[in-house]
Structures are given as C-alpha cells and as structure tokens.
C-alpha cells in the first residue's frame, strides 16, 4: 500500500481555512457565493416551515382524537399510588425526624400540613356537595354547572383530632404526630369493590408489636362516595379524601420504619418496582 501523505503544515491549514471563510477569487463566503447562501437559506426556511407545519398538523389532529374528559388508556394506572403528608424526602426516602423539645425541627411539618389542608377548608370546598350515602357516587349525566359533575365535600374537620383546628400543632410537641395519608386520583377507578378501602399502618418487619394508631375518619376509611373520580374537566373542584393517622405510643430516640397500606379489593400494594403503589413507607424518629 502506498504512502498517501496528506501532511500539511499549520500555516497551510490556516491559509486553507481563511480561504474557506472568504475566497476573494470566486467571491465565496464559506464555500458559497452570497446569492447561493440566500437561495440555500430560503430553501431551508421553506423546508423547516413545512416541517413545522406538518408537526403542528399532526399534533392538532392528535388533539382532535382525544377525549377531553378521560385519557384513552390507563396502562400504568391500574392501582393508585399512596402519598404521605408531611412529605420530607431525605436520602433514604420519606423521613419524619424531629425533636420534641426543639420546635424548629417540627415547625416545617406543621406548616406543610396546614398548607396542605387549606384546600379542605369549608371555603375551599363550598362548591362541593355534602354526601351521605356510603356507596359509589356514580354520575352518568352532567349534573353540575357548566357541564360538570358533582364532587363530594371533604373538609378538614372530618379529620377530627388531626384537623389542625383543635390542635394546630397536630400533636407533634406531644410526640403523638398526625400524618395524613392520601390516595392518588385515577379516573373511573372503583376501589374496594363495594367496601370502603381503609388505611392500615404497621411497623415494617416487626409484626409482633402492634402500632398504636388512631385513624380519622373512624376506621381510617376512604368513603366510597368520593369514588369514582371523573377527571379534572368533569369535576374541577374534586378533592381527594384523606385519612389522618395519629401515632400514639412511639418510643423516643429510636428510629422506626412504618408502612401505611390502603387495604381494599383492586388496590395492589405488593409491586416490587413501585414502593408507592397502594402503600407508603416512612421512617420515624422522635427525639427528646
């Protein structure tokens, strides 16, 4: 094989480059004459305008095919996720660590809960109706104003001792903190198959020792009349029902791992990949 030396000195390269930027003989700027640049720019302009148009057209026709009330598929939403308030997310997941005697360590939790519950004040809920039946609140017609469906009221006072109304500190200073469990909304999801799903909190990995808990509302149930959810457009004022958990007898200065499951038919809580499906796990440590 032959030697095809393409070695150029640095100055030659620079000279070549300068000639590429502006070639005075052919009046070429970066390999093209000015008029050529204009043509090519116009072409690309037109090309990209057309491409943008096609893209917009595709998205427009996509939007036209969509149902505004509910999505076409709920492949990932077979079972709702469960979240916890206050939600302080540390290195090892949800953590509620605080010192009873140091109010700075729990002020944040209280603020979080209070802020969270502002959506549940009677004022915020005034558009929703009072529901009393303990069955699914199925609405096939749009009974609400402006082609909407009705939503049931859930006010914070239903959480009784954990409502923040009687005890604005949510029991934190006493070492009996209130935590709020919320189940994710899924459109047309019927949890519990007729029985109201309830929250059940236990220590993780230690079944022998029962966790002393007060649930609010009683039994820690999500009343069935909050289900099914019909979506943001149908139920613009819908709020998730909540369950408050008051931990009563927590040994101080010791870290615990607690899991709160939502128990009910159709609610999966054993998905190895998803730690928040049907349950929420957190670590708790209350110092003196």
């Amino acid at each position: 094989m032959a030697t095809l030396s393409e070695k150029k000195t640095c100055s030659e390269r620079m000279e070549n480059f300068r000639r590429f930027i502006w070639n005075p003989e052919t009046k070429q700027f970066m390999g093209r004459t000015l008029i050529n640049w204009v043509w090519i720019s116009l072409y690309y302009l037109a090309f990209y305008v057309v491409m943008t148009g096609l893209f917009s057209l595709s998205l427009y026709s996509l939007m036209r095919t969509l149902n505004p009330y509910e999505p076409d598929y709920q492949d990932q939403l077979k079972s709702p996720g469960v979240t916890l308030r206050p939600d302080v997310f540390g290195e090892r997941g949800l953590q509620i660590y605080y010192n009873v005697s140091d109010n700075k360590t729990w002020d944040g939790f209280i603020t979080t809960l209070q802020t969270f519950l502002t959506a549940y004040t009677p004022a915020a809920q005034h558009l929703n109706i009072n529901c009393t039946s303990d069955t699914y609140f199925i609405q096939d017609t749009f009974d609400g104003p402006n082609k909407t469906k009705l939503s049931c009221k859930f006010t914070s006072d239903m959480l009784q001792n954990c409502s923040g109304l009687t005890d604005p500190t949510f029991g934190f200073p006493e070492g009996k903190p209130c935590l709020i469990i919320k189940m994710n909304r899924i459109i047309k999801f019927y949890p519990g198959n007729g029985t109201a799903p309830r929250v059940d909190c236990t220590y993780v990995g230690d079944d022998s020792r029962p966790l002393e808990v007060d649930y609010y509302p009683v039994n820690g149930t999500f009343n069935l009349h909050y289900f099914p959810y019909y979506g943001k457009k149908a139920q613009p004022t819908y709020t998730n029902p909540l369950v408050a958990v008051k931990l009563l007898n927590i040994t101080r200065n010791e870290e615990f791992k607690i899991v709160c499951r939502v128990v009910g038919t159709g609610i999966i809580s054993d998905n190895v990949h998803d730690p928040y499906e049907g349950k929420v796990e957190f670590r708790l440590k209350i110092d003196d």
């Binding site: 094989m1 032959a2 030697t3 095809l4 030396s5 393409e6 390999g31 050529n36 043509w39 090519i40 072409y43 690309y44 090309f47 990209y48 491409m51 096609l54 893209f55 595709s58 998205l59 996509l62 939007m63 969509l66 009330y69 509910e70 999505p71 076409d72 598929y73 709920q74 492949d75 990932q76 939403l77 709702p80 996720g81 469960v82 979240t83 939600d87 997310f89 290195e91 090892r92 919320k182 994710n184 909304r185 899924i186 459109i187 959810y229 979506g231 943001k232 457009k233 139920q235 819908y238 998905n271 990949h273 998803d274 730690p275 928040y276 499906e277 929420v280």
Partner: protein, 929 residues
C-alpha cells in the same frame, strides 16, 4: 481507522463512571444506570478494537516468506572435504557445488561450470533459463554471467562457486529489506474514513460542548449537564458503522475472490476502485504465456492462424500441396512430446515436454492434423541433429509413410535467413521452383512483416534424398553429416507469438472508458511489446508513436512534435538515462505508454512517476524483484500462478488466474463498494439526528426524556447493523465503468452534501415523525403535549409520587418512569420504522427506486425484516426486563410514524427526479451526494 470514535466513546464511558461515582457518593437512588452505560460503552470500544486487531493480524508479514525460502542443505567443500551443511551455516568464502534442480544457497561467483543454466524468474521475472559461465561479462552483478543468486534455481548442468554474500546481504535479501522499507501509508479508504470520523466527531463535540454550556447556563446541575453530554456523544457516534464498513469490505473481498481477485488487505478493495493507472506486466497477464503459431507464409502468401485459448480447428486454406509438405516438416522436425495420459484433455491444455516454440508447433500440428505421435511413428526417424546456437537449425531424417516411396525425407527448421541460405529451390503450389532473387525478395518482405509484428519466425525446408544414393541401409552419421544440408527446397515460414488473452482487449477498452490509463511494463523487446499493446488496445489503432510519425512524415525523429504523439514506447535503456522530469513529461504527454526492456527495478521508478502525477497506481508483478514496486504502488497485484511468494506477500491483492481482465472486474467491484459505502454511511448518519434531537429538546424544553442512551445503542448496534451491511449488496446505479476514477482530493466518501442531506433533511423528518409518536403515546396516557413542557424537574423527582397529569390523575414516580420507557420504546420503534424508509431511499443516489427495482437486492429485504424482527423482540420479548428500558408497546404506535416514512420516500424521489431532470443545476449541486 477506529481511533477517533473510540476516544469519543471512552470519554463517554469515563463521564458515565464519574457521574456514577458522584451519584453513588451522594447516595442517590438508582445510580447504577450510569455504571452500566459506561460498561456498555467500554465494551463497544473494546469489541471494535478486537475486531480491528483481528483484521490487522490477518495481514501477513512480508519477511516471513524469506525465511521459508532458505534451502535445507548445501554441498560445501571445507577442509578439503565435501560436506552437507544447512545453508544458513554458509559463510563468505565457502566453496559450494550445485547441480541441476538445486536451489542456490547464497549469492555465489562461479569458478567452474558445465552446461549450467539458472532460472532467475524468482528474481528478475524472466522465465527463460539463463546460461551461466565463469566469464565476467558485465559490470552490473545482475547482468554478469558468472554470478548465481540466492533463491534462484539451477535448471541443468553443474557448477562450483565461491559464496560472496549470505542471508540479508544477498541481492534478494536486499530487495526484501527494500520492500519492507517502503513506507506503508494510508489507503484511500482509510483517509476517507478518517475524514468522516473527523466530521462526525467534530459535530458531536461541538454540539456536545454547545449544549453543555447551554445546560449549565440554564442552571442545570453540572452532573446533569455531564449526563446530557454523554447522551449527545452516544447519539452522534455511529457505533456500529466501522464494523459495518469492515463487513461490507470483506463481503466485496469475498465476491472478488470468486472472480479470481484474492484481496489480502481489506482496504485494498476500495483502492482498486479508485485506481487511475494500471501498470501491467505483459507475459502471463495480458498474454496467455504460451507461444502459439500466429501466422504462416507459404505459396507467397501470409495466412493467419487462430490464437485463441480454446482452438480446436484452424480455419486457413489447407488445400495447397505446399501446406501438406510444410505440415509434414512441422510434425516431424520436432522433439516435443505430449506427456502421456492426457488424451481426454483439449489439445491446448495438455502438458508438453519441450521448449516453448516446439510446444507451439506440436500443439498447432495436433490441432490441424490430428494424432501427431501416430504420424511420427509412421515416418520413423533415422537420424537427428538437435537445435544449437551455432547451427541455428534443427534437422531430422525420416522414412516416409508411403510404402512405394523408398526415399528418405530430410526436414529442417531454424532461423529463416539461415534456412534460406541452404535452399536453392522454393515450393510454390506444391511444385519446386528455382529460388530466384524475386522469390527471395518476397521471402524477405514476408519475414520482415512477420518480424515487425513482434513474432518469432521460423523457416522450414525439406529434401527427399535420392533413393540410389541413400538406400535403405544407408548409415546416417550426424557428426560427419554424410548427407546434403544445402540446396534444399524452401517450403514456408511459421511465426509464433505469445498471444493476448482473448478477454484482455475487452478489459482494456473497459479501462479506457473508465478513465483508467493502462501502461504496459515488460522485459520484452519493444517490437513484440508494441505489437501486443496494439493487439490488446493499449495502443489504439489510430494513435502513433513519435517513431511512427517520423516514418509517416518522413522526417527525423527529433523534428517530430512529441506532444502530437499519443502513444509512446519507451525502452528500458532510454528510461535509464531519463531524468525524473523527463519521465514525468512522458507520463503526462502520452496517454498510451509501453515500457519495454525494463528491469523490475525500473518498475519502481515508473510507479513513483505515476504517483507524482497524483494517480492511484495499481501494479502487477510476479518476481521477487517486483516486490518494492508492489509495495510502493497504491495497490500491488501479484500473480497467483506465476508469482513468487515474496511478490504475493508484498502485494495487496493476488490474481488467481493471472488475468488482466480480473483486475478490471476488481476495479468495478471497488467502485461499487465506494458508492455503496456512501449509501451505508448516509443511512447510518441519518438517524443520528433523530437520536440527538431528543436530548436537545429535553434540555431546552424540559420535557420527559424521549429516548434513553441504552435504547440508542440498541438502534446503532442492533436494528441498524444488518440493513447497513445489506446496502453493500446493492447493484450499481449506472455503468460505473463509464466514469472517470474518483479524484482523491475532491470526491470524498462523506461530502458536505451527504452530511447535510442526511442530517438536515431526512434526519429532521425522522425526528419529527418520532416526536409525533412520542407525544401521541404521552397524550393517550394522559399527558397532553402542553402539560409536558417544563415538567422535567418534578417529573424526575423521586419525592413526588402524586404527579398530576392533564386529566387530574395522579402518578407515582415508578408509574411515570414506566411511561417514560414506553416513550423510549415508541421513539425507538418510530426510528426503526422510518429507517426502513431510509434504507429504501438509500438504495439509489440518482435513479428512482423503481428504476433500480425494489426487489432486486434481496438482502435489503433481509435487512428490513431483521430490523423489524429485532424491534419486535426487543419490545415484546424483552419488554419486561426493566434494565433494558423497553416496554411492550401498544400495537398501533408502530404505525404513527408510517406517514413520515412515506414522506421521506416521496421527498427523496422528488429530489432524485430533479437531479435527473436538471443535471448541473443548483439542485443537483446541493442535493446530490
């Protein structure tokens, strides 16, 4: 040629590990993705490296063959004793004895010879054995008669000599070291690939750095920015391409091997395609390497004989009585014989014991007359004088097969002028007529004419010995010559030539239309060389050399304008005296050049001269002496049959059938692979944009990641590999042998048009198609396009497990991640679907797909099916393996990108239509790659 990309990928791998380290130290949840990515990238680099090493290791070491050539034993006289010694123990001053059949153990100066002949073909390429004596005849050691060279063979006789050089210091050893010393530079294709690597790496680095800066200034974390950088690098580097190129080249090499071109160095496949000058040997390559009777002269008339490879009859007029006499002489006055046991073979293929001319005559006679041995048996030989250089004739005396004719027949053949001297009569139309000056003149004219055609002419005569003087029992004595050897009857002339191979003229004219200059370099006489050059078309019928013009215009050679002569026949002796400048002038000014009487060393000078013109030079050679030229050439072609091991080692390619026409088919394949590599690269580059855009938009618009780095690797190293190899099987679009060889500096493999068209036209369309699929998937699951903008931080946050979609539903992190993987899969599937369209449009660069035929290249369909098959396996088969980030995709999402695939096809058809309609236009210049 892998260097550039490897470095980029190593950088990517290093970044992956760094970010893994940082994330791990920070205790983040799932940092292992980056660890795996780094490992995969490193694996890609290492595997490509091993692949390249494997290819390199296959190329053989030239010096290896020289060690094999050392003869086992040498007969040495040491301490007044004859000893058998291994040849490598010889020292300068040893006296060695050689006999016929031995290989010469070192360079030796002969001090005693007896009928010694050596075959120097391995050294000089001359096939005729050369006699050796003790006389010093020439200053040049290669020319003098008293030196025998290492590695040549002694054919006959015996000799004794003093060792003057051993091992590497022998003439052949020096040539060998010269051959290995000639620099091994880069092949044209390696340069092209390097250029391409620079281009892609340049794009990758500049986009990478640009977006690194953008993401940093958009207040992304440095760690995130580094991860983006990895993604951009991985998206930009066509990981599978270099393996694809190698595979395509080796496929072509295989195809060429079927056509008798054995390619040793893969890259040489393409080099052959860019060849602009072929320096070809004559003997064996252009010719059949077999003396054959070409013309006959009797009855004052020249007849032509058939010289093709597979003759079975001779068409000339055989009715004359003179021909009967002549054929008898040809048959009887001949010592050559067929080797027994070949009755079933065609005459031309049979092996003959005898020298080249006698073989030619024997085969000629066998073809025309039938069983020669039977004729000889019926005309029993009673006496014979073999040919020798002093007599310059051969004579034999036979009984005749006519029972009534008791006369003996004396037949003689030899150098025409010597034969004529011994004749007093000449046979015309079967009658003896006195040989007057007019008839002698006719003979001279014929002799000159045949000689002028470069043919070896023999004269034939006979005499019936009178019965009364030479009765049955007459004792013929060849030493005292007790029979007449003069006043014979002249019968005719036969001329022989080593005829051109029948496929060669076609091949030469193909070269001519392909813009390839064919230069003949031979050791033969200029007249023979010119005659062969003319008959194969290297010198075309209408062109003239300076000498021809001088003759035609009747002026001295010096006064002819050299520039007007298109052809030139340059003698080796002239070449010796030429300066480099003069040689350049010859190479420049004449389009048809023959170098005659050249030594193999001069071949190197010619090759260098051609390369100075900027040509890509292919050189054929067989002798050891040719190996420097073979090395020096851009592509060295060794002869498979006649070639020595050293030549084969120095060469890049071996011609298994020694046929020039095979070179031309090789050129065709080489050009085709260059075109097809262009298509492969265009195909591969296109999707880079569709892989890159997701990152850019992810960074700028903060949407959920559309495609993962691992997924990109699955496209680059999975679905795209077989289709890009399939493009190597694509047939040529037009007659690629009708255009000039590509210009090394202008016709790049990857030019601006190719890159721009792939990146900014088709690539953009693919991206749009893939993004439409992406948005469709998200929208139908609940996230409308508008919701997606700017969600990146929350979307990727592990802390948010009630992320709200457009319909008010709430999603946990894992549910979102799974959706994101569905998005990856959808994006991947869309790219695959559109790559099918890309594959189809890349089949041609100018012609419509319908002109080329959609189904002519079956391998393309294998490619398409494999592409879709792999995608199906990945999505549905491996969709549950979370580490791969594939999910079983809903079936309808496979079709979202189909309209865009069709658009790509239509757009490209329109492009090609305009290119065909308006050649040379603005469109053609900007859109044709």
């Amino acid at each position: 040629m892998v260097g550039g990309f490897s470095i980029l990928l190593w950088i990517g791998a290093a970044f992956s590990w760094i970010s893994f380290g940082i994330q791990f130290a920070q205790g983040a949840e799932s940092p292992f993705d980056n660890l795996y990515l780094g490992v995969v990238l490193a694996l890609v680099v290492i595997l490509t490296g091993i692949f390249a090493y494997y290819q390199e290791a296959k190329s053989t070491n030239i010096m290896a063959s020289f060690s094999k050539m050392i003869p086992q034993q040498a007969l040495v006289i040491r301490d007044a004793e004859k000893k058998e010694l291994p040849a490598d123990q010889l020292v300068v001053g040893d006296i060695v004895e050689i006999k016929g059949g031995d290989r010469i153990p070192a360079d030796i100066r002969l001090i005693f010879t007896q009928g010694c002949k050596v075959d120097n073909s391995s050294l000089t390429g001359e096939s005729e054995p050369q006699s050796r004596s003790c006389d010093f005849t020439h200053e040049n050691p290669l020319e003098t008669r008293n030196i025998a060279f290492y590695s040549t063979t002694c054919v006959e006789g015996t000799a004794t000599g003093i060792v003057i050089n051993t091992g590497d210091r022998t003439i052949i050893g020096r040539i060998a070291s010269l051959a290995s010393g000639v620099g091994n530079g880069k092949t044209p294709i390696a340069i092209e690939i390097e250029h391409f690597v620079y281009l892609v790496a340049g794009v990758a680095i500049s986009i990478g750095v640009l977006f690194f800066i953008i993401s940093v200034s958009m207040r992304y974390k440095i760690l995130d920015s580094i991860i983006f950088l990895i993604g951009i690098i991985v998206a930009n580097v066509p990981e599978g391409l270099l393996a694809t190129v190698t595979v395509s080249l080796s496929l072509t090499a295989k195809r060429m091997a079927k056509k008798n071109c054995l390619v040793k160095n893969l890259e040489a496949v393409e080099t052959l395609g860019s060849t602009s000058i072929i320096c070809s040997d004559k003997t064996g390559t252009l010719t059949q390497n077999r003396m054959t009777v070409a013309h006959l002269w009797f009855d004052d008339q020249i007849y032509s004989a058939d010289t093709s490879e597979d003759q079975t009859t001779q068409p000339f007029d055989q009715s004359s009585q003179t021909w009967t006499a002549l054929s008898k002489i040809v048959t009887l006055c001949n010592r050559a014989e067929f080797r027994p046991g070949q009755e079933n073979l065609p005459v031309m293929k049979r092996v003959v014991v005898g020298d080249a001319s006698e073989t030619a005559l024997l085969k000629f006679a066998e073809v025309v007359l039938g069983d020669v041995m039977d004729i000889r048996a019926r005309n029993k030989k009673v006496a014979e004088i073999p040919f020798n250089s002093t007599n310059k004739f051969q004579l034999s005396i036979h009984e005749t097969d006519d029972r009534n004719d008791k006369r003996f027949l004396l037949v003689m053949k030899g150098a025409p002028e010597r034969i004529l001297e011994r004749c007093s009569t000449i046979m015309i139309n079967g009658k003896e007529e006195p040989l007057d000056s007019e008839k002698a003149e006719a003979f001279q004219t014929a002799y000159m004419e045949l000689g002028g055609m470069g043919e070896r002419v023999l004269g034939f005569c006979h005499l019936y010995l009178p019965e009364n003087e030479f009765p049955d029992t007459y004792p013929f004595d060849t030493d005292s010559m007790n029979f007449p050897t003069s006043n014979l009857c002249f019968v005719g002339l036969l001329s022989m030539i080593d005829p051109p191979r029948s496929t060669v003229p076609d091949a030469v004219s193909k070269c001519r239309s392909a813009g390839i200059k064919v230069i003949m370099v031979t050791g033969d006489h200029p007249i023979t060389a010119k005659a062969i050059a003319k008959s194969v078309g290297i010198i075309s019928a209408t062109s003239e050399t300076v000498e021809d013009m001088a003759k035609r215009l009747n002026v001295p050679v010096e006064r002819v304008d050299r520039r007007q002569a298109t052809a030139a026949v340059v003698n080796g002796m002239e070449l010796k005296d030429m300066s480099l400048q003069q040689l350049d002038e010859v190479l420049c000014n004449h389009s048809e050049i023959v170098f005659a009487r050249t030594s193999p060393q001069q071949k190197l000078i010619i090759v260098e001269g051609c390369q100075r013109q900027g040509a890509v030079v292919a050189v054929t050679g067989d002798g050891v002496n040719d190996s420097p030229a073979l090395k020096k050439a851009d592509i060295g072609i060794a002869m498979g049959i006649a070639g020595s091991d050293a030549a084969k080692n120095a060469a890049d390619m071996v011609l298994l059938d020694d046929n020039f026409a095979s070179i031309v088919t090789g050129v065709e394949e080489g050009r085709l692979i260059f075109d097809n590599l262009k298509k492969t690269i265009a195909y591969t580059l296109t999707k880079n944009i569709a892989e890159l855009c997701p990152f850019l938009i992810y960074i700028i618009a903060s949407i959920p990641m559309p495609i993962g780095t691992i997924t990109i690797l699955f496209i680059d190293l999975g679905t795209d590999i077989i289709p890009s190899v399939a493009l190597a099987y694509e047939k040529a679009e037009s007659d690629i042998m009708n255009r000039r060889p590509r210009n090394k500096s202008k016709d790049r493999l990857v030019n601006e048009q190719l890159a721009v068209y792939s990146y900014l036209h088709i690539g953009i369309m693919q991206s749009v198609g893939a993004f439409v699929t992406y948005f469709t998937v998200y929208a139908e699951q609940g996230f409308l396009p508008t919701t997606l903008l700017g969600v990146r931080v929350n979307w990727e946050s592990n802390a948010i497990n009630d992320f709200e979609d457009s319909y008010g539903q709430e999603w946990t992190k894992y549910q979102r991640t799974y959706l994101q993987w569905t998005g990856y899969t959808a994006f991947f599937v869309s790219i695959t679907i559109q790559q099918v369209a890309d594959l189809i449009i890349r089949k041609t660069r100018r012609n419509s797909i319908f002109q080329q035929g959609l189904f002519r290249n079956k391998v393309i369909w294998v490619g398409i099916f494999s592409q879709i098959g792999i995608a199906l396996i990945l999505t549905y088969g491996l969709g549950h393996v979370t580490a791969l980030n594939f999910t079983p995709l809903r079936f309808q999402y496979w079709f979202v990108a189909v309209p865009f695939a069709i658009l790509i096809w239509v757009y490209d058809e329109v492009r090609k239509l305009f290119i065909r309609r308006y050649p040379g236009s603005w469109w053609d210049k900007n859109m044709y790659y």
